[in-house]
Each structure stands twice: as C-alpha cells, then as structure tokens.
Symmetry: D3
Subunit: 274 residues, 6 copies
C-alpha cells in the first residue's frame, strides 16, 4: 500500500517563470530518462522480485521516493508556465520574444492541460510503459537501474546547465545528488550479489559449459576489408567475468545464403513466387 | 558505409518447424531485448560518439554484427512458420492441437507478412525506436549496452529452454555466447574508461562540489511508519564511486504542500477555479 | 453506408493566415480531445451497440457530423499554412519573427504534408486509436462521450481565446455551440436510460449484493499519518446512485507483504534467486 | 511525498493458478481501463489542480489507493503464472491443453518478465500515458474519472465472470466495490461543484452568449435522405444544463466546397498542381 | 459533409460464428492494410489536394465507400464473436477446443469491447494514424493508394483462404473485387497524370538538371567483396521514367570517416570526451 | 552478414551550422519517409522473399546502401547542432533569434542525445517499425518501395529547398539522385515481373473468376444526392490490368441495417441491453 502527506520532498521555487524551461523539464517527467520511468520500473521490478525479499523492499522504498520526484517536477512545470501567453495577440510581430515563447512550448501543456504538467517528454510525446525494464532477473534489473539513473543524472545536469533560475538550480542540484546516490545504490546491490565476477554473464544460472564457448570471449571483426576492428581492453586479457580470455579475429560467415524456397499456394504471394 | 555478402554468420537449421516457437523468436527480433534494438543502439551511439574515435569504430563494428543476428533470427522465424496452418479448416474441432497453433501464433506473421518474420515482438507489438539509448555520454552508453546484452542473454536462455529443436538450440547457444562476449566487451569499455571509481557518478564532468552533498550518499527511507528500509551494502561503507560514505535515515518532507493558486481567466478552467 | 457532398458544414474563412495557429488547430484534429476521436468513437460504439437500436442510429448520425468537423478543421489548417515559410532564407537573423514561425510550427505539416493538415496533435504526435472508448455498455459509452465533448469544448475555447482572426473565431464559436449540444445530448441519453440512480454503478447488471459491500460506499484515507482525507459530499450523506450511505475512515492494510518465493529453474533468474 | 508499508490493501489468494487468467488480469493493470491509468490520472490531475485545494488532496489520496490496486493485481498475475509452462516440451501434441495455455498467454510475461506482471494490457500492448486525462478544468476531470471508474468496473465484472477461483473472485468483488465507491465519489464531486445545471456546459467560464446559439441546443440530422435521426430526450424539452431547449432538424451544408487553389512552387508538389 | 443511412453496402452473414476468425478480421479493420487506413488516407489526401479539384472529389468519394467497409467488417467481427466463451469454466481441461478459442482471441474484444469490434489489428495493437500517407503531391498519393489497395487485397485473399463460412467468403469476394477496382482506379489516376514517363521521378517539379546526375540511374553494388549485385531490368536499358539509361557498378565510399571532435563543456558528456 | 568500413558514401559538409535545419533533417532519418524506414523495409522484405532469389539479393544490396544514408544524415544532424545553445542565458530577451532557435529545435536532440542525431522525426516522435511493409508478395513489396522512394524524394526536395548551405545542398542533391534511381529500380522490378498487365491486381495468384466480378471494375458513387462522382480515366475504357472495362454508377446499399440483438448476460452490459 502507498500513503501520501501531500507535501514535497524538497522545496520547489521558481523566481523567473520560463515556459521554454517548462518544456525542457517535461523531459524529466515523461522522457525515457525521466521520473515516471524509474518510479514505475522499481515498482514493477518489486512486483516480480523472487528470492531474498530485501530487494523487493529496497525497490518499493525507492519507487516511493521517485513518485515524490514526479511531484516536484510537475510542480516546477506548472510554476514555469505561470505567465505563458494564452493568446497569439500577446506575441504579435511587435514582440518576437513572446512569439518564440509560444512557438517554443509544448502546446499541449496549454491546450490539453491548461498550463500544467503532463506525462509527456520535452517534445510532447507521451511516455510509453514499454520502457519499464523488469526482467525477473535481479542482477539485470540492478544493471538497468544503474543505466536509468546514469541517463537521469545526465539529463538533470543538462537541465541545470540550461537555467539560471536560483530555485530551479537548487532543486536540480538536489535531484542530481539523489541520482548520485541511486547510481551508487544499485551498484552496491550488484556488489551485494557478488560483484562483476559472480554476477556476469547474466543470467548466471545458465551453465556456460553449454554455450558455444568458441565465441564467448572472441572480439569479432566486421570490417569490410577483413581487418581487425579497434583493439582495447575488450580484445586482450582476462574477461571481466573472470571466466575466459579475450581474443580478437575477423569474422567470416559460417552459414550459407539462406533460401526459403517457393511460396505456398493460398499464401497471398504472386503466381511467380509459387 | 555498410556492405553485405548475403550469407548468415552462423547456420540456421530447423528440424521440426513450430509456429508457436516462431512467435517466441519474434521477441528476439522486435522485442525491447531484441536484435533490432542493439543494432540500432550501437549504430546511433556511434553517430554521436565524440572524443576518442576508437569507441565509434567499436560501436559500428558491433552494430554490423547485430544486423547479422537479425538475419539469423528472421530466417529462423520463417523456417518455423513453414507448415503453419493457412486455413481454419486445418484446425477444426477434430484437431485441437492445430487449433491451439492457429490461436497461438501472431496472426500478423501470416496475414501481414505471408509466413515471414516482422519487426514486432512476441505479442505482435511493433518495435519503437524510443528504445535506442544514445546519450552522447560514452560511459552511460556503455552501461546501457551491458544492460541490453544482459536482458538479451536472459531472453536467449529462455528461448533455449523452451525448445527441443537441435538446430534452434545450436543457434541459440551461439547467440548466448555472443551475448556473453558483448556483456564482457562493454564492461571492458567501462574499465578502459577508468572503472567504477572514475566513471561514476555519470556524468563525471559535473562537479560534485555543486550538487547537494547532504543527499549524495544517503539511503533515505519512505516507510509509512518512519522505520528504516532494508539495510545492505547500500546503507553502509564507502560508496562505489569512492567519493563518499553511505548512510541511512528516514526521509521527512522538506517542502510544503504546493499551491498553484487560482486558475487564470481564459485558461479553460471552471468559473469556480478562477 | 456513408455519403458525401464535398461541402463544408459551416464556412471556414481565414483572414490572416498564421502557421502557429495551424499548429494549435492540429490538436483539434488529431489530439485526444479532437474530432477524429469523437468521429471514430461514436462510429465504433454504434458498431457494438446492442439493445434498443435508437442508440446505434444516434451514434452513427453524430459520427457523420464529426467527420464534417474534421473537414472544417483540416481546411482551416491548410488555409493558415498558406504563407508558411518554405525556406530558412526567409527567416534569417534579420527576421526573427519568421524564424519563430518556422521554429514554432509542426515541421511535418510542411515536410510530410506539403502545407496541409495531418492526423496528428499540436506537437506532431499521431492520433492512436486506443483512445476510442467503446465498451459494449451503453451507459459507460454515453458517459465517455460527455467526457470527450467536455474536453473538446475546453480545447475549442482555448483555441478561440488564442486567436484574433474573425473567421477563425466564428468557426470556433460554431464548434463550441456544437460541443454544448453534444454534452447535453449524451447527458440526455443518460437521463433516457433512467438517470444517475438507475444508471450507476455501471454496469448495473452486476448484482451489488455480491460485491464486498463493506467497501462500496466508504471513502478511505491513505494519509501517511492516518488522518482523514478532505471531507465533502463524497464522505457524507446518501450515495449518488441511491444505493448506500457515504462514510469515511482511514485505511489499514488487510493483506500481508506478499511473497513470490524463489524463482523456478530455467526461468532465466540469477542463481541466487533459485 | 509517497510512503509505503510493503503490504497489500486486501489479501490476494490464488487457489488454482491459471496462466490464461493472468493474461486477462493484465488488462486491469495496463489496459486503458486499468489501474495504472487511474493512479496516474488522479496524480496528474492533482498536479494541475487550481482553485479549492481540497480537490488536490482528494485526488492524491485516491491516487495512493490506486497504486495499491496495481500491487494487488500484479501479485495476482504472478501467482497465476506460477505453473506456466516454460518449455514447449510440456505442451507437446499429447497435451493440447498445455498447448493452448502456452499459445494463449502473453509470451512477454514469460520471455521479458520471467513469470511476472508487466505494465501491458491483455494482448501485450504497453500502456501509453496519453490516456492520462488531466485538463486543468476540475469538472472535466471529475467527469473523466467517472468514465474511468465505469469502464474499470465493467472490466472487473467481466474478469469476475470469467474465473471460478475463490480467491480471485473475492479480490475482484473487493475491487468492484471500490469502483462503486469511486464512481459515486467523482459524481459527488460534480454535485459539490453545483450539479449538472451549474457544471455544464464545460467549461462554464466561457460566456454562452458568445457561442453560436443557433446551434447550441439543436439536434442535427445527417441522414442521407434528409430525414430526422432517432428522437429521444435529446431532441425535445429543456436541455440538461438548463440553459436552452432541445430542438431537432436535418442539417444542410452552410459552407461551399473548399478550394486550396494551386500548390506553391518549391512545395514538393507535382508540376501539374502548380 | 458526410451523411449516413445506417445500412450496409453489402450483406454480412455469418453461418458459423468463429471467434478466432473474428480476431483475424480485426486485421482488416485496424491493421496497417485495413479499412480505417484507406478511409482516413483518402480523406486526408483530399484535405490537402491542390490543383485539379476532381482529385479531391475522387478521394472523398472513395473515402465514403471505405467507411462503409469498416461497417461491414465490424459487423462481421461482432457476429463471429456471438458465441465466444465469457468464462474459463467453459474451456476447462475437458474441452481443449474451447480452451484454444479463449486463448486465441484478442481478449480486448471481450474485456474492453464486450464482444464487439475495435480499431485494433489481429494482435490487439491499436491503429496509429502515422500510417495515413498524404504528401501534398498528388502522384505520390496515388502511388501510396495503389500500395494500400495491393496489401489490402492480399489480406482479404488470405482471410478468404482461411475461412469456410459461406457468408464470410461472399463478403470477402465482394471486398476483393472492390480492391481490384481500387487498384485499377489509382493506377488510372497515374495514367491520367501522364503515366510513368511523365509522373516519375516524383516530384516531377524538381529540375533533374540540379540533382547529382552521376548517380541518378546507376545501380550501385554494396557487396562485401566488391562484386556486382544481381542484374536485371534495373541495371540495363532505358530508365522507366525515360530520362536516363541504367548502368551498374560497385560503390566505393566517396566520404571519409567522419569526426565530431570533442564534446562541448556543459553538454553532459564524460570528462574524457571533453 | 553485414560489414562496415566506417566511411561515408558521400561527403557531408556543413558550412553554417543551423540547429533548426538539424530538426528538419531528423525527418529524413526517423520520419515515415526516412532512411531507417527504407533500410529496414528492404531488409525485412529480403527476409521474407520467396521465389526467384535475385529479388532477395537486390533487396539486401539496397538495404546496405540505405544504412549508409542514415550515417550521412546523422552526421549532418550532429554537424548542424554544433553551435546549438546549451543554456537559456544565451537566448535571453536581448537575443530573440537565439530564443527562436532554442524554442525551435527538438529538445531531445540536446537533452537526450547531447547534440547528436536520434531515430526520431522532425517533431521528436520516435520511428515505429509498423511502417516496415513486407508482405510476402514480391509485387506488393516493389510497389510499396516505389511509394517509399517517392515520398523520400519529395522530402529530400523540400529539405533542399529549405536550406542555403552549399554542403547540405550538395548532399541532398546526391540523395535526390539516389531516390530517382531507386524509384526507377523498383519500377523496373515491376516491369521484370511482367508489367502492370501481369502484376495487377495484386495478388495475381487469386483467381479473379471467384471474386464478385460485378464490382471488380465499377467506379461507384457515394454522393449524397445520388449523382455521379467525377469522371476520368477510372470510369471509362479498359482497366489498367487489362482484365475488364471501367464503368461508373451510383451505389445504393445492398445490405440492411444490421442488428446485433440484445446483449448476453454476464457480458458487462447495462441491464437495459440484456
């Protein structure tokens, strides 16, 4: 069960409302790097968490925090839209700045939501729940969460660099700090699961003896002229999972040109294909 | 530029065509864990790669490989659909097995594609390019790629466990091996970028002195009764990025209940809100 | 069957073509509050209408009208795009107004449709037919239609407030009037079905004696501190459907923390979860 | 801010796990009539609530409840998938029942989520946040919520009628009761806003004297032969909003056949159109 | 304006209702080859038709017909769902045929629409209006329409081959005939525009003297070994548009490996990229 | 298998970076007329090509070329974003031109991708793979490809007309030339399949004797007043496929008003419908 106290986790102040910045903030709500995504991702990972129950609790706890982040950002969007022009009169040719504003905002924030936040990204595209990665594999989920928080913190930093509003900068430095913690938190969960050498390759429940070991640690080249692709840590030395040794070589096709033969009657093909 | 030789990277054989398995294989083509996703993700990450050019080349090289994996899987789908029923007569009441087959396949594989593969997932939902994560931050991209290969290998293992066809098992053990390599490859790229202590928090170009350090390494609790959430590696000891020390405490709201005040005239609200 | 006479239901005039307003008008075509939605919603509700056939006819009749509204709005979009800049030269630094215009329009209206309307919303997002609510329950359908016309009229009012063009204002005051009628029309249909006391709770064919009556008219509180949520008509007095009495109390969980146990072998989980 | 106690609002028991019913339950999670929709809709309506703050609190309180309903249903999905076949061996020709099961479930519940719930509907289509109606108009929002709860209760009734599992029936009768309350609750909010005569037409802040009153209460006919469409409460008597009198007549076009003239040079048209 | 007479263009009879076939028929309503697509495509092409007005009228006329085809198919879906099982009791282990039925239908037809048609495809994916091709170029539009009718007729043929129901076969043979006509009709429109030699390359208003003529009629090879790709009509002889002569040669890159240089400060990249 | 050499097919130069033009170019990457679409369409058509294998090879060869076109355009987008403003300070009121720029770009190119290209269209909508038409019918596929290249060339011409940058114009004139070739190439394939008289109606494997010949070549009118729709090549003379003679007449409904009768018990309808 979830509960609320209707308050904000951290104060949200906007000194100079800026509708263009409201549009940018929408990315942190409904973008694939945004807060709906992490809130729902941690929630659904918890719903499928099998094994040690502490991961379920950890996920639900952080899901609750992220719901509060949506609240903060949605409040920030509404406050930044406070003075947005409602009429094209306000942005006539005499006032190109206002024209740029009306042209530059997500019109749906005005036309659909009446100067409020929406679950859409900075270009007005609605968030789509296919971005909720919850695999039933606890290690894959933790890795997906590190990724989500990494892109989330990049976004918060870009938003921070984009604004001069002191209230907005303060709010974003709080969110950046939380993203620092959350990146570390999910990395710590991977460490608790045994670290890279125990965790990888994911899933570690599939016996590696069965996979085609000839290709498990080979860096293959697909350069048109048959040359080696760029060398690096990935082409030499022990593999990160500790189970093999990196090697490198150009790839040549092992399979032939496939043929599906002729089309079946009644399959809607042209007569020439039958 | 890209080139082709029309051949398959690895042989694709199907001994007992199974249209239900064709449906399952579609997830590995057009699912969010599938091969279109990694091919296009590495491609677009390469398109935005700034800094050391070897990462661009590494990404394009692996994108080329993944295109070949789509070829393999699409061939496998078509071969598994070889004997799929084209008529409801074939699966009349007298033959419930065939009925289950026609009811169980993605009908679009038959109705839209004429017994061929499509860029859709196992429930017939088309792949949507919002899943291409390419952030402009090389470390975030590498992390996203580890995640993609982890979910990709989980999927390949589940598909492998689902079939008894020797040809399909062989193909999947090859793909599982490649996913082992690719997980290791992107982890190796993170190591080449300096490893966890240098890489995190992502982006490492934002000065941590500016973020709200009080919250950077605090594990906050959102339990209704004010209790601590489950403790673990994430609540104690040095942070994974080496820049702080984990601590833990329940969270209390720092912000008040927000108020947006009254609605503006002409904003389409009810008179009672003005 | 449907027929056409190629004419418009109401005259569409644009005195001062404004490409930004064309973008705003797109919301009334392809937005979730727009005319494609109501036309198709009434159409599909008619297709599933069982029981008294007059509702089927009512729905098809209004669907025909809404098709005509799409025609009016699409014509208005094309006329407003009449002078849109086709070249970035036209909006060079010397002419920031034109720059705001080119930056502010849906580029697809120009690049995909050659200065014509599209079935997309004001941010260029295509309309998606999942918004067609047709439940097979005639009362739920009527309620959904009131909602659709309410948001439709809000949108038309916002568009009306945004423009000064006399032709556009006249067209929108016509559409606002039709939305007045349509709100009243679907409310009248609910009255014809017996009014709130007969219609609710929807569906009225499910015997209320079977539902868990302890919770049928209880306003439950989910405040973190166990306090009551805000009181109102919903927490006191007879229920609107006339079948119960409102009461109010804080909720406490009746279920335990769920456990899914350990993961199954071969399910792609980590070994630690098995 | 949101808080959790990790417990369920109401007990969730499954006596006879049924993977097909798990698929059906997905509609109540990620379908357009489902719980994600209402949770997020009430949340975002709260984020844009201007005017009397009690509506904001009411909305957030109910959003918290709906989050708990997602928990219940997601648990129910996982429990129903408990024995789902992981291998096609299990559903060989000898066992058509198991074959129907594997063919009939959402394969993503197995392949993507490892026998857990996902934010998708019963056909595996991910929920898309464009269904979150939050208009900035409190009356329109309340009406949208009645609609959401009506379709939600219809769905719960259909699910209830589909299963014989005592635990599932008990859970659904609880959810049906909550939908009864929530329909009444939002109708009560409309009453609190003044009832139909004050609330409609939405938005009531637009002066009706400005709209084209000739068409505000006229039921127009679009029958091919110029006849009247079916008469009813909507064609006669005082309008529901009390502001007019219903009348009825066939419609004839008031506008001419529109002409966009010739295409502009450089607009990508054929030469014949220029 | 559009009008209706509530009747069907052609009789729709179902002798043996088959819910699986209802699912298949959904593809002809909401699939990308379906009737919503052509109805809306011709409608929006008419909305953007500039130049000779007869094309606008032709398009609107055919749009009206296609609306009637949706009616026919939606009626057919509802009739085929007539006896669909509403309960899982009906398809217990003792009755695998019914089990296959419930597992094989689109559950949304039952759960969302109460045994009626929906604007979704055969896998339950909603139709999305991005498939409405209306380019503002009359020749491109006519070509897109030939394509739409070609895939539409293939679909109708596949559906026809799938069923034995005499009523359904009769209905489909009518629709197949209309698709024959419509393919011919749009091809005739291309002929009216001057035929292939005048129409192509589309748009014919761009002066071909400006394009890079070295590559306008060259069939380029992208074979890994530098060999020629398969020869045919496309590699030899006069071009179809009559403006050039086909030739063939392997392609070699004319551009270098691109470099985007280093990342900008404040762009959210890793420090190593700056 | 696919290979790469990391080089560009044609040089990409940008003399005056223009972020607004970067937004426009996105349409040619991720729009429905763009290069992802053709690359993936030809790829998946090849995967389902049955019959003469030269079509499979032709398709794969051209898919490889189109992948190279995505590379060119993605590079062009990144180069045009080179100087895009990262901060709202740079576009303060004093500088409306910069304001128009920040308001006019796809913010995701900056916020999600760090000044790089994305697989989205010019309004930031992600490409969706349902646009990959691969029917299993070789003639339908060739026709779909002509259509794709026609809209692609229209788009390239519009982009060409929009910019003055010499490098961009040169790149676009190359792409326009390739679209000329590709239109001709797929038309040549239709000629190789026998030309219009052999190819149409698609699919030519369905015996026309079985279709309802009364309607196969009749141009039907749906004018409200029963008049003829506009006459043309489509209403008179031999049909394009050579198999019939065009005629024209108004249509009258052959079917009655359909009735679905009353709703079934337990189907979630209102009691009044049962």
């Amino acid at each position: 069960m979830f509960y609320t106290d209707n308050k904000l986790q951290f104060p949200v102040r906007v000194e100079n409302p800026n509708p263009l910045f409201a549009r940018a903030l929408q990315q942190a709500i409904g973008g694939v790097e945004g807060e709906i995504r992490v809130a729902m991702q941690y929630f659904f990972q918890a719903m499928g968490a099998r094994g040690d129950p502490k991961f379920r609790d950890l996920l639900l706890n952080t899901a609750a925090e992220e719901l509060g982040h949506i609240e903060m950002l949605a409040t920030a969007v509404a406050l930044n839209l406070e003075n947005a022009p409602l009429s094209m009169q306000e942005d006539a040719a005499a006032d190109p700045v206002a024209g740029a504003v009306l042209g530059g905002i997500n019109l749906k924030n005005l036309l659909s939501a009446g100067l409020s936040a929406m679950p859409v990204d900075s270009d007005g595209v609605p968030f789509d729940m296919s971005h909720i990665y919850a695999s039933g594999n606890i290690a894959a989920d933790m890795g997906a969460n590190v990724t989500a928080e990494a892109t989330g913190r990049i976004l918060a930093v870009r938003l921070h660099n984009m604004t001069n509003d002191p209230g907005m900068k303060e709010m974003l430095q709080f969110l950046i700090a939380r993203d620092t913690m959350h990146q570390n938190q999910w990395l710590a969960a991977i460490e608790e699961l045994g670290g890279n050498e125990n965790v990888y390759p994911i899933p570690n429940s599939h016996p590696q003896s069965e996979e085609n070991r000839e290709f498990s640690y080979a860096f293959l080249g697909f350069q048109q002229d048959g040359s080696e692709p760029p060398q690096g840590r990935w082409s030499d030395g022990q593999s990160i999972d500790g189970n093999g040794t990196f090697a490198s070589r150009p790839m040549q096709p092992l399979g032939e040109e496939p043929s599906l033969g002729r089309a079946r009657p009644n399959s809607g093909a042209q007569a020439e294909q039958l």
